[in-house]
Symmetry: C2
Subunit: 328 residues, 2 copies
């Protein structure tokens, strides 16, 4: 009798396989986006499907800031910069009188952002260059292990999205190679992406600077230079994808206008493609912002989504959990 | 009785496991390099070994020209350039009067090389830029499928080294991610590396140029620009490795002074590392050249090998087969 029951439930499972697969995404509500994701993955992974995508071509690219982890009140890498500048301030007394350093030391994020690209470049040059890759890696690793988010008090690695962790695992279980394609720094994200997302350094595409190989005291080092090599944002994202991966993604997921071209490049390829846009709609459990935001502005991508077939995911409506371990 | 024999042979196989593994490398003679490779791979893959390297960190990088396939009488990518220039010559009558195009059309490789970097850049600009990545991919794919090597008359893909194909497979079977790190063009190598070496596009690091994202007749394309972004040769190789892979290799294999820094960067890392240098010593089955060669010059790396612990592989002495399907 028990065996017959087992058989019956096996058959049932087979008949309702989308719902069985749905267990891989427990933090997603049973709304349209989850159904579309599962339907798509099944369509491209079944060998007899006309939309079958061979294993080697299953590339999924994810933006990081605002897509895999939060990005408010400021991009977390900018908060890293703030912390490094503050830690170095005693050695550099002139910073108290020099912008944008003085604004950083006063915690005046608005003034820092108002300093524009020129200001950001100054901050990057003292925090992201002039050291070896090993020294930078150590600094980021130490920060990410201890620094706390200014409003939630949580570790930054706890500010990742639980539904996205599940989606990454679900895609990998279906043979996808998951990539980060971030406007943030590749070397910054690589220090913790493997531990947090299961994404190894070689699958992190990001903004990167020029580097130099040098022998110091008989040992080779790689030194980070202040010049930008690729700004992996907007139209830079398809370029980063082509340069690093050399294949057009099958799946792409972003959250802002900085992801427009990545999504466009993905869905204009032949064959089945899936593009998703995360819409920050939940002011209670996370943040709510889109067209007017200075961080993660979502305007053009939101308008384009319906006509381009991009799926808009609303945090408020489509996720039952936001951050891991948070109250549902 | 039969079963007992099987058991005995199983035990025997277990006791002489290095020789069983050796079967993975049948085109390698039982000389020192093969023994060193097998000994190294066993040392880093056994979980109880003090030199154990976790799966995620098993990165093996291979130079391409002269390491995975031949590079005489000229780098094959240069022969591709020659073929493309000749095919376009009718549309560009002025090339008959302009260097280095005129030398290409006269098949005067020496004069082309004598035109130096300036000449090569001119050739690259008309053969490797000004088209979309899709157009370039199609051109290379067509060429590699049909063009023949000038002295052997074989397809270029038949000019790969059988012992290296075996080594790539052996490393992959032991959990290594195999990468190409080539001074040649990344986009050039990516068109055929997966089919020929089993190395997917995203594991090809090479010289690359700037690119531009553009909408043409409503469809996005990526256009190859004439400016160089990274010359992935000499000190550029560790930079390419850091930029694309973000991890120091465990194994690196090169054949020329252009690989010096890649080998140096690899073996100066902590823990067990293996570096190999292919020495072209076989004028009968392949080519013999080293210190005086204009292509694949091997001088500094050959001198450095003994003191740095890099293993020199002699084609004549250490390989019983060179190209696949060739007479042993």
């Amino acid at each position: 009798m028990k065996r017959r029951l087992l058989t019956a439930s096996y058959l049932l499972a087979f008949l309702i396989s989308p719902f069985v697969h749905a267990d891989s995404l427990p933090s997603w509500n049973d709304t349209a986006p989850k159904k579309a994701i599962i339907e798509f993955v099944e369509r491209v992974t079944k060998e007899d499907s006309p939309d079958f995508v061979p294993l080697a071509e299953r590339i999924a690219t994810f933006d990081n800031d605002g897509t895999l982890w939060s990005e408010q009140p400021l991009y977390f890498q900018l908060l890293y910069i703030f912390d490094v500048i503050k830690a170095k301030a005693d050695e550099r007394p002139e910073w108290r009188e020099t912008e944008p350093f003085a604004s950083v030391l006063r915690d005046d994020a608005k003034a820092v952002l108002a300093s524009g690209e020129e200001g950001i470049v100054k901050l990057l040059s003292v925090t992201h260059s002039g050291m070896t890759t090993d020294e930078f890696a150590e600094s980021v690793s130490r920060w990410i292990a201890t620094a706390k988010h200014p409003t939630t008090g949580r570790l930054y690695t706890e500010m990742v999205y639980q539904p996205m962790l599940e989606l990454l695992s679900y895609l990998r279980a279906n043979g996808f190679k998951t990539y980060i394609v971030s406007g943030g720094g590749a070397e910054f994200v690589r220090q913790w992406a493997e531990q947090v997302y299961g994404i190894p350094p070689e699958q992190v595409v990001g903004t990167y600077g020029r580097m130099e190989y040098e022998i110091r005291e008989g040992h080779p080092v790689i030194v980070k230079l202040p010049e930008l090599a690729l700004n992996n944002d907007k139209a830079g994202k398809p370029i980063g994808i082509q340069t690093f991966i050399g294949r057009r993604p099958t799946v792409a997921f972003g959250n802002s206008d900085g992801d427009f071209e990545m999504l466009e490049w993905t869905t204009s390829g032949k064959g089945a493609r899936l593009a998703l846009v995360l819409h920050h709609t939940d002011s209670e459990r996370e943040w709510a912002y889109d067209r007017e935001s200075h961080i993660g502005k979502l305007d053009r991508s939101l308008d384009a989504a319906p006509s381009k077939g991009w799926i808009v995911v609303s945090i408020k409506d489509d996720w039952n959990t936001v951050h891991p371990g948070a109250k549902p």
